[in-house]
Amino acid sequence: MSTDLIAARQTDVIDEFALFDDWMDKYEHLIELGKDVPAIDTGRKTDEHLIKGCQSRVWLAADAEADGTVRFTADSDAIITKGLVGLMVRVLSGAEARAIAEADLHFLDAIGLHQHLSPTRSNGLASMVKQMRLYAAALAARQA
């Protein structure tokens, strides 16, 4: 069950961030992650895949795999947003559509970064997560 997959991945991320109790260290790590995130294929860094937050921009591409899972790639023009976007992809990509649609995403909260998920933050992350879920939900409905 890929709900467990998502849960396990969240635990992973939480454990990883548990190493940092200082705010700046945590962001240092997030920046490193941001730098390492495989950028979205330049061919897909288009307006079609753009989610316009008003502070930073996010691109998201989703592909339905034959086995009922969804593969995401994402990018951002701001490195911290990119780190967050990368974490989200790491947790959700490759999971089953239904599991993505219904996932209880608590890891950002647990690592003290939940404020980035606030829709009023305008960094595009909240809209991205919403779009990931919508995509997965639509796919799951078609599969059912």
Binding site: K52, C54, Q55, Q115, S118, T120, S122
Partner: protein
């Protein structure tokens, strides 16, 4: 922040006190102003329909915001902006819950009921009314639900038609049905509870009839919010407006609830920051709901404090408040009727805590002034319902006593005694 803590503290105090005392005793200490005196007499505040007093939770919540986490909201990446935004947006959620709205995106913050009606007339009205159209309102509407319609109708060549009010202050339902049929109005505007008469209108019934006749409906809930449980889905209206300051919250903040599809189709009204998606001199695009209708920096402390006021009211319980106020109205009616020449204007079976009166041969302004001298705050005049006053032939208006959760029977008795003295002095 500490605001949630503060609310919990108050909720706790309510629970403890509920058991063994009556409502005003339990809550009066939450209202510091009630301890003051006026002209050397203890204040009896019976002007709640004009504006209610504020509980400590509201006063302290505003203070705490200003002293601890003030910042401009939305779009701020820093911590204070985040705290302020969460608190302010939190109220949007509380309002949505409180009135049974489908989503927070249907709640538009406004400066009050007046501003909310103007938003509807200037956005929906200008887009949907044309020459020959009718807007049907009642003769007991507040000016806030008349004048904005007159203005847009004058512009569009449409007409505002009033539904009659009966002698006891209830709406003339036959006249309503007749005018609905005859005029086929584009919009029906009706006050949920009258600020002058106290009358609670059967809004669900009226909205159902209006909808059947193809009209869009707007309910003015300014006087309902502090007294009644509101459920916009059950009412079945299209727009619902209310104002914070009559419901224990601050002035300058209120809201419009609208049916999502209507709001989505409406053009923005005020332009500026927040309500845009993107601005350029080649073309500007607008934001999604609710921000599309919210231009500029809002009344942040007011928004936060309105949420606290709703929490406070819900902590006390609207059923409790309404039952208490109904008993006060009964009591006031009885006590007042013992005075000579007394005429109560508005004796509908279902009323909120409002009692309007006139005394034969005496001017309400004189009575009000002499009550003030005895520490008793009431309102006199037309209460922004001139057409209603004209209908009842009351050119000088009425004297209005209006009650809140903290009003006591003793206060009403003192007001009646003071009124008697004023009447003696004037005759």
């Amino acid at each position: 922040m500490g605001r949630p803590g503060l609310n919990l503290y108050f909720a706790e105090r309510f629970r403890l006190k509920m058991a063994n005392s009556t409502l005003p005793e339990r809550i009066r200490r939450d209202f510091p102003i009630l301890d003051r005196s006026v002209h050397g007499k203890p204040l009896v505040y019976l002007d709640n329909a004009a504006s209610a007093q504020k509980p400590l939770a509201v006063i302290e919540g505003q203070r705490e915001y200003l002293a601890n986490y003030h910042a401009n909201i939305h779009r701020g990446a820093h911590h204070l902006a985040q705290l302020a935004t969460e608190a302010y947006e939190g109220t949007r959620g509380k309002i949505a819950d409180h009135i049974g709205a489908g989503s927070t995106e249907e709640i538009i913050f406004t400066a009050g009921s007046t501003d909310a009606v103007n938003l509807v007339t200037q956005s929906w009205g200008r887009a949907n009314l044309s020459a020959g159209d009718t807007v049907l309102v009642t003769r007991m509407e507040h000016h806030a639900n008349i004048v904005p319609w007159q203005m847009v109708c004058a512009e569009k060549g449409a007409e505002v038609v009033p539904v009659d009010v009966q002698e006891d202050g209830t709406l003339d339902l036959e006249d309503f049905a007749r005018k609905l049929e005859r005029h086929q109005p584009k919009l029906v505007g009706v006050v949920h509870a009258s600020n002058t008469l106290g009358t609670i209108n059967p809004v669900a019934e009226l909205c159902a009839a209006a909808r059947t006749a193809g009209a869009v409906t707007l309910v003015d809930g300014s006087q309902a919010l502090p007294h009644l449980t509101i459920d916009v889905a059950a009412i079945g209206c299209d727009f619902y407006v209310a104002t914070g300051h009559k419901a224990y919250g601050p002035t300058g903040i209120g809201f419009l609830w609208g049916r999502r599809d209507l709001l989505d189709a409406m053009p923005p009204w005020r332009g500026g920051g927040e309500m845009i998606r993107s601005v350029s001199f080649d073309g500007t695009t607008y934001n999604d709901l609710p921000h599309k209708f919210e231009a500029g920096t809002p009344h942040i402390s007011g928004g936060i404090a309105l949420g606290i006021a709703l929490d406070w009211m819900n902590g006390v319980g609207l059923d409790t408040i309404h039952a208490h106020e109904s008993a006060l109205v009964q009591h006031a009616h009885q006590a007042l009727q013992t005075l000579p020449g007394m005429r109560i204007i508005g004796t509908a079976p279902e009323k909120v805590g409002v009692v309007s009166l006139v005394v034969d041969g005496l001017h309400p302004y004189d009575l009000g002034t002499l009550l003030d001298g005895q520490g008793i705050a009431v309102r006199t005049g037309h209460h922004c319902t001139e057409p209603l006053m004209a209908h009842f032939g009351l050119e000088s208006g009425t004297l209005r006593m209006s009650f809140a959760a903290y009003t006591t029977r003793e206060e009403i008795d003192r007001a009646v005694i003071a009124l008697e003295r004023a009447m003696r002095m004037l005759s």
